[in-house]
Amino acid sequence: MTEMNMIQSLNSALDSLLTKHDNVVIFGEDVGYFGGVFRVTAGLQEKHGPHRVFDAPLAEGGIAAIAFGMGLNGLRPVAEIQFADYIFPAYDQIVNEVAKLRHRSGGEFSTPVTFRTPAGGGIKGGHHHSQSPEAQFTHTPGLKVVYCSNPTNAKGLLTSAIECNDPVIFFEPKRCYRGPFYGDPHNVPTWKGHPEADVPDGYFSMPLEQANIVREGSACTVIAWGAMVHVAQKGIEESGIDAELIDLQTLLPWDRDTVVESAKKTGRVVIVHEAPKTSGFGAEMSASIQERCFWHLESPILRVTGWDTPFPHTTEWDYLPSPARIAAAIKKTQEA
């Protein structure tokens, strides 16, 4: 075990897979010599060679298509999209091509691509460096969608994503690269001393499609992913209510059993995500939970989300779900 921040643990996952599998290749904008704008691929080109870790031209649509082709022909490409906000030129290749290849070819062809992309707000990135577009991919059959939240699951889940034979979109909460984020921009700790910052060395994987119960509780189930896991944790503390916190980790296919079991136990559910509310993944979860837990629910399922507006720059703390908003929602579930 080594104490790592999320950048180091992602780097460690990539390093171990480049070592273990000679068909893993990594590319994207600035990922080669420079090591990525967030330094996630630092040192990997030098260690593993320029044809395995290389810079791509600035063309997300091209990057996705090249990944499609490399994956189809025996490689295991890990493509970085520099910011999730920049994934949309690649949307056609991902949604119409990568996601559907296995099905449309009657299982004859497939492409085991992983798209890594930093997502989410909290860095004063404005519209185009802050969005969390997971729902735009959970609506796409054929993709798996993963959202890590700490150094340990970043490494374990990225390893499994790359080794998965289906294409995976892997979201990294950039606000948490260097430390967990509890919703207070004036007090941002590092990962130092955090239990999830003790990361196994070498090869390490964690199963996809499994949620993690971060905190057990009996009075309410709070579900979150990415940076919101930590904000939700703070919200639970502020509420003073014995809530259970579930880090969903994989959004597609999601761990419905764990969520349903918890919802049946607590009878109250709050779903937290940064992305806008309307058609967000919280809506899908809410519908599924009521289908299976209707007779167990004691109060309406609530969502605490980003607003149905573009992501702002200077007012981002009024946009992102805050511990106070989450605490208020948890308390509201107790009223019924």
């Binding site: 031209p57 649509g61 091209g62 460096h129 720059h313």
Partner: protein, 412 residues
């Protein structure tokens, strides 16, 4: 899992930048291309007649700062001094903004360092009502059109006087009176949009032209090719520029094309194409005038490679010393655009070091006063910020019920 048979794959070419930290940059010494090498073709020319201009380099100022050749726009001293003042203003303004970023008063900043001539000279060559579709390194166009500096700084801060209400990152200016379109972070999107604006101008029969820029790195995006192709087919009044400044963050231009020329791409689209020294104010002004004349005459698009060097980092978040020699800019044969115009003006007896120092001081005072005034409307570290209610407005023309409900939920 089944591993691939990597041993059987012949490694493809992965380009490396020519110079890395620790190397001494060498761009081959002074350019062999000289002013006067290339004629100024008639504006009715076909694309093929610009082949020498796409493969050569249009210059007006030589290495001794003397202007000559058919492309010399013969500007009078007052116009040249205005160009110098605007370029100096942009540089001094940028320096102040970077200092603000370093002290936490801005979240982010991008300078135009070494590329000041591009936005200034090219915008000066246009009509005042021509549409401007900039990348993030042409904010200087606003100075040409007289935008209030306080307003620009307020945008960068994102304070209560920011005309776009703190919604975008700094440098993403929007200025309707100046026909300066709101800058968007996804690179290259403006390039093909500009062609649509120009088609609308042609449709309406007005005399507005449209200018747009993107970088060498961005020319890898589909939008670059969409723009060139639509411009090639529909021939609207548009001036399409690729600013080849050698670097896209850490990515050298050799990742943007396997060739070494961006201008010649336009020839294949059938668009008259020029390659110009991007640090030569006079040459930039002149090629843009030529393109503007073509637009006015209904002759369609002109495509220009602006050959330059990004002397600063990509942004305040970037440290170029990690991926290129720290002093690489010093070896760029094109020199510094501000110094070159200054030396030219001194050479023709219209300027002096004393006047230059005096002007720099005057600009610095103006920038400082503007900065102080802008900060009275709030700075990033201390606020005040635009009210949170601005999150919910202007998402649609009118606020729909679901957005209104959320605004009430926030309660601010």
């Amino acid at each position: 899992m089944t591993d691939g048979n990597q041993a059987s794959i012949e490694p493809y070419t992965v380009p490396c930048a020519p110079f890395r930290p620790g190397d001494t940059a060498d761009f081959g010494g002074p350019w062999t291309e000289q002013p006067g090498d290339l004629n100024r073709p008639d504006i009715t020319c076909e694309a093929a007649q610009t082949q020498p201009h796409a493969h050569g380099l249009i210059r007006v100022l030589n290495d001794e700062h003397v202007a000559s050749g058919e492309w010399n726009p013969n500007l009078d001293a007052a116009q040249l001094i205005r160009g110098l003042e605007l370029m100096m203003t942009l540089r001094i303004y940028d320096d102040r903004m970077i200092k603000m970023q370093r002290t936490g008063k801005l979240s982010f900043y991008m300078r135009s360092l070494g590329e000041e001539a591009i936005a200034i000279a090219q915008t000066m060559a246009l009509d005042d009502t021509d549409w401007i579709f900039p990348s993030y390194r042409q904010p200087g166009a606003q100075f040409v059109r007289g935008r209030d500096m306080v307003s620009m700084i307020c945008h960068c801060i994102g304070n209560t006087e920011d005309n776009i209400r703190g919604r975008q990152m700094p440098v993403h200016y929007s200025w309707k009176e100046g026909y300066f379109i709101s800058i968007s972070s996804p690179v290259g999107t403006q390039f093909s949009q500009a062609v649509g604006v120009a088609m609308a101008s042609a449709y309406k029969g007005d005399d507005q032209a449209t200018i747009t820029w993107l970088g060498d790195g961005t020319s890898a995006q589909g939008d670059f090719h969409y723009g060139l192709n639509f411009a090639s087919v529909f021939k609207p009044p548009v001036i399409l520029n690729v600013v080849n400044n050698q670097w896209a963050i850490s990515t050298h231009r050799n990742l943007a094309t396997g060739g070494d020329n961006f201008a010649a791409r336009g020839l294949a689209y059938g668009i008259p194409s020029l390659r110009v020294d991007g640090n030569d104010f006079l040459a930039l002004y002149s090629v843009t005038k030529w393109a503007r004349e073509r637009a006015r005459a209904g002759l369609g698009a002109t495509y220009i490679e602006v050959y330059t060097y990004r002397a600063g980092g990509h942004s305040s978040s970037d440290d170029p010393s990690i991926y290129r020699p720290g002093d690489e800019a010093d070896y760029w044969p094109g020199g510094d655009p501000i110094n070159r115009l200054k030396m030219h003006l001194i050479g023709i007896g219209a300027w002096s070091e004393e006047k230059d120092a005096e002007l720099a001081q005057k600009i610095d005072d103006t920038v400082m006063a503007s900065y102080k005034e802008a900060c009275t409307f709030g700075d990033l570290a201390n606020g005040p910020y635009p009210p949170a209610s601005t999150i919910f407005t202007e998402v649609y023309e009118t606020v729909p019920w679901h957005v209104q409900e959320q605004r009430e939920e926030l309660g601010k």
